[in-house]
Every structure is written in structure tokens, then in C-alpha cells.
Amino acid sequence: MIPAPFSYRRAASIEEAIALLQQYGGDAKILSGGQSLIPMMKFRLAEPAVIVDINGVPGLDTIEEHNGLLAIGGLVRETTLERSPLIRQQYPIIADTAEVIADPLVRNLATVGGNLAHGDPANDHPATMLALRAEVVARGPSGERVIPIDEFFVDTFTTALAPDEILTEIRVPAPPPHCGGAYMKFERKVGDYAVAAAAAFLALDEAGKIARAGIGLTNVYHKPLRAEAAERALLGQAPSDELFRAAAELAAQAADPTSDLRGPAEYKRAVARTMTLRALQKALSRARAA
């Protein structure tokens, strides 16, 4: 439970952080909330020689709406998301997600940027961001680039970020009219990663039919999974229990979980189906209330 020796650098600006990453290359790791990095270091699963702490970098911890976009700074803590009136009222799916991550102690430190950048299919924000069609803003030595969420998750613990890039912001399209989203997670106990979890986002047209659908799944694939076939099945349809069940079944079929202590693969697939169904139902009731 004691990490290997390492040295610690605290960056005062984004430029300094990038310079440090360039200087140390693969030996360096960014520290945001430290809630994934530090446990891995304590188990000596990660042994970075240098920690580059970006918590002193100004301007990365804001939540703002502008130009039809919600912009969440990479260093925004889960607790901040959970409590933000803007998030709770306009983006309840994000509040749902933040609320079920780990426990309050972890959420006080854990950041949404770290949650995505870690590339862990067990983390909860990725599914939600997939369902919302978010974009990730990265800063590197050659400036800023915007990465669509569908291209962001490459494999387990691997994202599209280069080793010297820093995730600075997450952009979520502002909510269209008559929309609603929900995140449903099944865990063995509080603080656990999901057995399976589902994010569902729906927008209805004037006739009440489904105009937009997003479904993301947590911890049932080697990376965060967008259930595209399920989304397609919903589009243009009038919401119904039958339709949702069919979509949930398609989502479950897309899942390819591995058996472990959280349960056999078949079970996880079943839970993914149940969570998808329940997330869709809740998303619909929110969309209708909106």
C-alpha cells in the first residue's frame, strides 16, 4: 500500500504542465483528483517517475453554458457537478452520473476530466458522455484540438489523448426541447464500480416521437460502449414499453462483458438490459416533464 518512489511537480499554468509532460515523456503522469492514479500507484500497478499536479492550473474548474454548449472544465470535481443547480436542472443525467460515482470522499476530489482521461470502461462518465454526444477538448504542445467522444475511447485505459496532451474541457450540446436523460447504475455496494450501468438520452419531436436517442453502457465491454443498434431502433418511433424492451435487448446484445466477481458475463448482460430499460423509462418521463 506504499507507492514506489516518485517525484512531484506542481504546474502553475497549462503551458508549464505541457512543458513538464514533454520533458519527462512516458515517465510522467498528470494528477487531477488522484482517485484512480493514486490507488494504482499504491498497488504498484502504476509506477510513474514524475507526477505533474495540475490542480494549481487556473481556469479548469468552471461550468458554463455558451454558444449552445455546456462547457465543463477538466478539473471540475464530482461533488461540484452533483451540487450545481445548472447541472441538476438542465442536465440531470450528468447529476445522476456524478451521484453514483464511488462515495462522497472520493467525489470531493475526483474530477470529470480524470474520469474520462483514465479510459476505464468501469468509470461512469464515459457512458453518459457517449449518450450525450459530447466533445473533449485537449491541449498539447501544438495547441488545442476537439475530439468527438466517439473517437475518444480507444481501448481499456487508452484514449485518443497523446502523452503530452491535457484534457481541458468537456463540451455537451445544450438540451433540445422535450428531452430527458438518465443514468442507471447497478453496483454490489456503494463505492463499487458498476456491474453494469446505462446512460440514456432521448429527445422527442412535436408529435412525441423519438427524434434523438443516445445510449451508453458502462463496464460491459473493453471500452465504454455506445449501443448504436439500440439507438437506431428507437429513432422515429413513438415511445412504448415494448419499444424500450426491444432497445434494451439490443443494448444487451451489444455488450460483451467478462465474467468476474461482479458476476458471470450472462448476468452482466442481463443487468445491462435492465439498466437500459430503466434509464430509458426515466429519460422518457423527464422528457415528457420538460
Binding site: V190, V195, L261, G263
Partner: protein, 781 residues
């Protein structure tokens, strides 16, 4: 009269120990820091079974700050490579040839700081030749199975066979019985997971030749005796101090190799040594609990009267039998498994088996295997009810030992002291609205919903124990108290038991307050230091109140008898003319003439009668005449989520009877904690190994300790049936809820599915396990 209230028995006195804990001012072993202290850390085996070919410490020794690397070869020269267990087995301190479980201690590193020690552990090179591990106790018993313990004379993995009851009579009843039910039950391996892990600080003072060990010990006196016997150091030169202990639950009764290695290192290096386990070491290598494979049968009449019980258990003890049971009871008090029911005969047999897993079989809040016993009988009664189509409450009423049968001689030889089982169950059923719940269940079933109601009416056995039957390594299981009243009427009480959260500093003060009529805040309770406390066997198995509590009451009564003589002297009457009433000695017939204990105490030092010794103190070593038998009736209501397999405990009512209650607030706290620790193995906790014997649940990420979120809202109530032989009428309570809760929960879940032909589910009832069952029965969503 004193104006300060006494607050003796029955008062919800706030815990005297809490102000220091709440302020973070407790002193745990890891808070002990001595000048020049070195840190010890342990190299552990990555194999469950392997031959050690070579240990090369040179790289570690070359690291700056590393002082020493200790191996089994070195300990062997000192005669310390092995140590005795409390169960007359022996256990490796450090191996010389082979490792026999995953995470076993292989070598120890001593360094000038904790961090260097951790780095050096990884620098010790160990070459292993992996051997086939034996993990399944049934396979371990097969001929030709690899031997876990070739060091033993007996070339088998079988440790011992133990039985109780009348086999012949039991078999006869089974042959002629109208109805026989049988069931396999597995009670999996779990871990106590105290919040404070184990550890010690050892200091050897060369000038005084004294060895002082601060140690996470539930039984400091017994540990000192063991240390003295093993090391040859005279007992008065060893002082064991058990400071504040962050939970014991049975896991701090055994002696762990780390304690011995640290002591060896302190003696060798002449420097204080600190060894503190980290969480994973604690979870992976310290003694586990349970792991009983039980085959149980009941014989009954067709109208539901139980006639006999037959049980055979295979007990997986890991690589060393390092349980901490009384000597004559290798399977603990498992033979109390006939429970609250009157039957003609019973026969119980247990076989202990070695496997390549960490050692133990510790009594995790279970009063020596009573959790296993109660789980067996409370499940079996439901199995029988299901067979006969009877209501689980009805079958219990039909079979209860009746109040007038006490003291009741059980078919396995126990004498139950007191009880009123029907009254307690009736109280629980009325309070929860049992008939209404059954109606609701029928309605929900019709709608396809799964709801269940479970009952557990358990009998506990605590207070080990009478000297004719109970000892640990030959030391009789009495316990002790020493009370000294100071001239101004305050007192110090020293006891032989050791609190780990039970609140002894409060409840034992209340006993003295009640018996002597001194305000509870003026009574200081001390324990845990072998140089000052009287000898005792420690706190576990709910024995503190039944044994040391009795000792305290008896010691206080001895003081009161002397106080009577002093009061008579002060009041100038004959001692016979005095009666103890309303916390004072009063002249019979004129109660306004009295002396309080405070006045008497002052006189004991300033104005005592000729011929009497001065001072006011007493000692008692109490040998209990019998065990006490707390009991209770628990009712649990569950709803099952058909989409996930999750069991939601909607309601849980615990009606407990622990005899006279000393502090109702502490009793309620013990019950809340115990229920939570009972719920956890029923629904969440299990130690799991892979096929190589590597632990898969070696961190809290996978060993699922419940939090407040998973914990249902507990409702508690009580009946009071005092123990006839305890001076206060008190029984124990700490373990009743851990014992009573699991079958109540399992019975509720099985009840929810009984209409689908489900009769038993092994714990833990995880959502994954239950969902699979729902799918098999065609009711999964």
C-alpha cells in the same frame, strides 16, 4: 445522601470512552512511537503451495536504510521458526522449506522507515517451486491428495474428528421417523475486517531486562503467558499492553507470526520495532472465520414435531489449526445446534481438515461456531416447515422448549439456564404485523412480485466458561476484577477482559456504581495492561459481562460486606441491624439513619473499627457455574428485484433477550452493529480464491464490507429473562445479532421463492447468484 445520581444498572449512560475517540485522541498501537524505532515489513508468498528453493536478501540489504532481513532459517536456529497455536497445532512463523498458503509470511525486512521497508520487501529475491495446492476440503480428504502438512506425523490432511450427542439413539429415531428432511449448507469463509489492522510495537530494555509489547490483543494475559512459554523469558519480565483496540471480533485472539518476528527482531537488534499490517495483508493472511460444509438432517412427525437432528460437518481450517476455541472444543460450541427446540436426540460430528489457505477458524463474533450452529437449525426448521407445508412461525411454536422446562438439558449436553421463547416470538410477530404481511405477500405473489418473510428464533450460548469444562491451553476460563475505593469515594476497577469497542469502561463502572452506590462518573475502569490488570482470558465470545461482569459484581459485594462493618461502627449499631437499601447502609426500622459509601470510604482510611484492616478493596476471580443462554426472535421482510436479483431488506425487527440489561443504549448499539455484521455475510461478504489458491477478494474493492447505504433500518425490542445463576441476571449480547440475523435474511429470501420450489440458498445471496436462480425458475425480468 449524595446529590449526584448513581446511574447504575439500566441507565443509558453515555460511553465514557467516546470523548477521546470522537476527538481522535484514542491511542492505538500505531500511535505508539518510541525513539530509535525501526519498522518491520513482511515478504509474502505469491503461491498457495510451493517449495522455497532460495531466499536472497542481498539486494534488499544493500539498500540505504535497510537494517536486517530475517528468514526462517535464522529463526530456526533460535528455535522460533514454528510457534504453537491455541489449538495444540503448530504454525510456521517463517518457513524454512515451503509455503502453504497465499500471502504467507516468507521473510521480514527491518528498516529505518516504513517506506524503505516496503521497497525492500520487493527487493528480497525468493525462488519458488510451485506445488499443487489443495483447496477443497473434500478433495483434501481423498487418498493421494497432496499433503498440506508433511511436517506432521499423521500423513493425512485430516486434523481431528469430534462429536457430541447420542449417535445410536439419534440413528434409531431417524430410522423410524415419519418425516426426514436433509440439506447441505455451506457457510463460506469470511474475514473479521476490524477497522484497525493487527500490529505491535516491541521494546526490549536491556538495562531492566524487560520486554514491553504494545499489541492489538483481545487477550493480553493469555498472550503474555504464551510468549513466556515460547521464549523462556520469565513472565514478570514481559509486559503486554493492549491499548485502544479498533475492533477485535475474534481476529485478535490468535498470535500472528508478525508479533513473534517483531519480538525476535527487537531482542536481536536492541531497538524498538514497529510492525503494522496494511489492509490487504490483514484481509489476505490473518485468520479467517466460518468455512463450514454442513450436512444436516431433521427427523420429525408428520404433524411437525421435531424428534431428532443429525449433522455432519467438514470444517476447512486452512493450513494450520489456528482457531481460538476452548481446548476441549475443536469445533467450538457448534453442538448447541439443536437451538431453541426440544427434541429427543441429536448427534453432531465435525471433521477438521487442512487446505492450502490461511489458517484459522477464529470465532468472528460468533461465540465459538454458534453462528454456524444457529444457521443450521434455523434453516433446517424452515426446510422442514416447507416439507410439511407448515407456517415457519407455527412450526417454531410447536417445537420450542417451553418456559417451564428450564433449566433445560439439551440432547448434546448443554444446560440452558433460562428462556421464554414463545413470548419473545409472539412479541416480534405482533410488532411486525405478521398476519398482515402474509396477506400482502399473497397479493404480491398474485401480481408476480417476490416478497418474503423470514424468522429466526435463535439461542446463543455465551460466558465461557465453567472451569470444569473450559480452558485455553490449560488456563481455566474464569475472569477477574479488582476494585479499590479511594478515601473520597471514587474508585478504580481493573478487569481481566479487554474492550475493543464494547464499552467496558462504561458498563463495568455502572456495575460498580449499582453495587456500591457511587456515582458512575467517579469510577474509573482500567484494563489491557498485564502489569496492572488482574489475570483474565480476555474479551471474545460475549464472555465479558457473563464472566468478568459477574467478577466485578462479586468483588463489589465483598467491598460492601466490609463497608457494612464500617457503617455499623460509625452508626454504633450491630452489623446485623443494617440493611443495604437505596444505595446506603440504613438502620433497620429507622431508614433516616444511614451511611453512604462515600462516608464509609472516608472512614475506611480515617476511622475504621479496631481489628479491621484499613482500606476498601477487593478482588474476585469468578468461575461461572454455567454458561448463559441469550436468545431472540428476529423477523425480516425482503423484496426481490427481478431485474437484477437484488435483495432489499424492507424491514428487520430484532427482539433480543439478554437477561438483565446494564446499559440499554450500549446494548442497542451492540445489536445494531451485530445485525449489520450478520447481514453482511448473508448478502455480501465472502473470501474467494481462484484455482491456484490466490485470493480474489484481497481488497475492500472486492471484499464487500457494507456501508450505511447497504444497511437496513434496524428496529429493536426486548424481553428480559434474567439468568438465574449470574449475580446480576445478565447474559451476553454482543454476538446474538450476528448469529441470529443471517438465517432470518436467508429464510426471508427463500420464503419469497418457496412457491417456485426453492428450499435453500447458500450465503452470500449475491444478486448474481439470485438472478441465476430467478432465471432458472423463469421469473427473471
Amino acid at each position: 445522601m449524595t446529590t449526584t445520581p448513581i446511574r447504575g444498572l439500566g441507565h443509558p449512560v453515555k460511553r465514557k470512552e467516546d470523548p477521546r475517540f470522537i476527538r481522535g485522541k484514542g491511542t492505538y498501537v500505531d500511535d505508539i512511537k518510541l525513539p530509535g524505532m525501526l519498522y518491520l515489513d513482511i515478504v509474502r508468498s505469491p503461491y498457495a503451495h510451493a517449495r522455497i528453493k532460495r531466499i536472497d536478501p542481498s539486494k534488499a540489504l544493500a539498500m540505504p536504510g535497510v537494517v536486517d532481513v530475517i528468514t526462517g532459517a535464522e529463526l530456526e536456529k533460535a528455535g522460533l521458526a514454528w510457534m504453537p497455536t491455541l489449538m495444540s497445532d503448530r504454525q510456521m512463523v517463517l518457513p524454512t522449506e515451503r509455503v502453504v498458503y497465499y500471502a504467507q509470511e516468507v521473510a521480514a525486512v527491518v528498516a529505518t522507515d516504513r517506506y524503505t521497508a516496503a521497497d525492500a520487501v520487493l527487493a528480497v529475491e525468493v525462488e519458488y517451486e510451485p506445488l499443487t495446492p489443495v483447496l477443497d476440503p473434500f478433495k483434501a480428504l481423498e487418498p493421494g491428495a497432496p499433503l498440506v502438512r508433511p511436517d506432521r506425523e499423521q500423513k493425512t490432511n485430516h486434523i481431528w474428528h469430534w462429536e457430541a450427542g447420542d449417535k445410536e439413539k439419534t440413528d434409531r429415531i431417524f430410522q423410524e421417523a415419519e418425516v426426514v428432511v436433509s440439506q447441505d449448507l455451506y457457510i463460506p469463509r469470511i474475514h473479521v475486517c476490524s477497522i484497525e489492522t493487527c500490529g505491535c510495537v516491541v521494546n526490549y530494555d536491556r538495562a531492566t531486562d524487560k520486554l514491553t509489547i504494545w499489541m492489538t490483543s483481545q487477550a493480553p494475559h493469555a498472550h503474555r503467558t504464551v510468549f513466556s512459554l515460547v521464549s523462556g523469558i520469565p513472565e514478570h519480565k514481559i509486559r503486554i499492553i493492549s491499548p485502544d483496540i479498533g475492533g477485535g471480533f475474534g481476529g485478535k485472539v490468535p498470535v500472528y507470526p508478525g508479533y513473534v518476528i517483531a519480538t525476535y527482531a527487537a531482542l536481536k537488534l536492541g531497538k524498538p520495532i514497529k510492525w503494522i499490517e496494511d489492509r490487504s495483508e490483514n484481509l489476505q493472511a490473518d485468520s479467517f472465520a466460518r468455512d463450514y460444509h454442513i450436512h444436516a438432517e431433521l427427523a420429525a412427525t408428520r404433524d411437525g414435531k421435531i424428534r431428532a437432528m443429525r449433522v455432519h460437518t467438514v470444517a476447512d481450517h486452512g493450513a494450520f489449526d489456528a482457531a481460538a476455541n476452548p481446548s476441549k472444543f475443536p469445533a467450538g460450541l457448534f453442538s448447541v445446534c439443536t437451538g431453541s427446540y426440544d427434541m429427543e436426540a441429536a448427534h453432531v460430528a465435525v471433521d477438521g481438515v487442512y487446505t492450502n489457505k490461511p489458517p484459522g477458524g477464529v470465532a468472528y463474533r460468533c461465540s465459538f461456531r454458534v453462528t454456524e450452529a444457529v444457521h443450521t437449525i434455523e434453516r433446517m426448521v424452515d426446510v422442514l416447515a416447507d416439507e410439511l407445508g407448515m407456517d415457519p412461525a407455527e412450526i417454531r411454536f410447536k417445537n420450542f422448549i417451553r418456559p417451564e422446562q428450564f433449566p433445560y438439558k439439551s440432547p448434546t449436553g448443554w444446560e440452558y439456564d433460562s428462556g421464554n421463547y414463545p413470548a419473545t416470538l409472539q412479541k416480534a410477530l405482533d410488532a411486525i404485523g405478521y398476519q398482515e404481511l402474509r396477506r400482502e405477500q399473497a397479493e404480491r405473489r398474485a401480481r408476480g412480485e417476490l416478497m418474503g418473510i423470514g424468522i429466526s428464533t435463535f439461542t446463543e450460548i455465551v460466558g465461557a466458561g465453567p472451569s470444569h469444562t473450559f480452558d485455553i491451553l490449560g488456563i481455566k476460563m474464569f475472569d477477574s476484577a479488582e476494585i479499590r475505593v479511594h478515601p473520597t469515594g471514587s474508585a478504580i476497577v481493573r478487569i481481566g477482559v479487554q474492550t475493543q469497542g464494547q464499552g467496558h469502561e462504561t458498563t463495568f463502572a455502572q456495575i460498580v456504581a449499582e453495587e456500591l452506590g457511587l456515582p458512575v462518573e467517579n469510577i474509573l475502569v482500567e484494563h489491557g495492561d498485564t502489569d496492572t490488570a488482574p489475570y483474565g482470558l480476555g474479551t471474545y465470545a460475549s464472555r465479558s459481562t457473563p464472566v468478568a461482569g459477574a467478577a466485578t459484581a462479586v468483588a463489589a459485594r465483598k467491598i460492601r460486606e466490609k463497608a457494612r462493618l464500617i457503617a455499623a461502627h460509625l452508626l454504633e449499631v450491630s452489623p446485623d441491624d443494617l440493611e443495604w437499601h437505596d444505595y446506603a447502609f440504613r438502620v433497620k426500622g429507622s431508614p433516616d439513619r444511614f451511611k453512604t459509601m462515600q462516608e464509609i470510604a472516608f472512614a475506611a482510611y480515617t476511622n475504621f473499627p479496631q481489628g479491621l484492616e484499613g482500606g476498601l478493596e477487593a478482588v474476585c476471580y469468578y468461575d461461572p457455574p454455567n454458561m448463559t443462554f441469550p436468545f431472540g426472535a428476529y423477523v425480516c421482510v425482503v423484496d426481490i428485484d427481478r431485474g437484477t436479483g437484488l435483495v432489499k431488506v424492507r424491514e428487520f425487527l430484532a427482539v433480543d433477550d439478554c437477561g438483565t440489561i446494564i446499559n440499554p443504549m450500549i446494548v442497542e448499539g451492540q445489536i445494531h452493529g451485530g445485525l449489520t455484521m450478520g447481514m453482511a455475510p448473508a448478502l455480501l461478504e465472502e473470501i474467494v480464491y481462484d484455482d491456484n489458491g490466490t485470493i480474489l477478494t484481497g481488497t475492500f474493492m472486492d471484499y464487500l464490507l457494507p456501508t450505511a447505504v447497504e444497511t437496513p433500518h434496524w428496529k429493536t425490542d426486548k424481553t428480559v429473562t434474567p439468568s438465574p445463576h449470574h449475580p446480576l441476571g445478565a447474559k451476553g449480547v454482543g454476538e446474538s445479532p450476528t448469529i441470529g440475523a443471517p438465517p432470518a435474511i436467508v429464510n426471508a429470501v427463500v420464503d419469497a421463492l418457496s412457491h417456485l420450489g426453492v428450499r435453500h440458498i447458500d450465503i452470500p445471496i449475491t444478486p448474481a447468484k439470485l438472478y441465476q436462480l430467478l432465471a432458472e425458475k423463469g421469473v427473471a425480468e
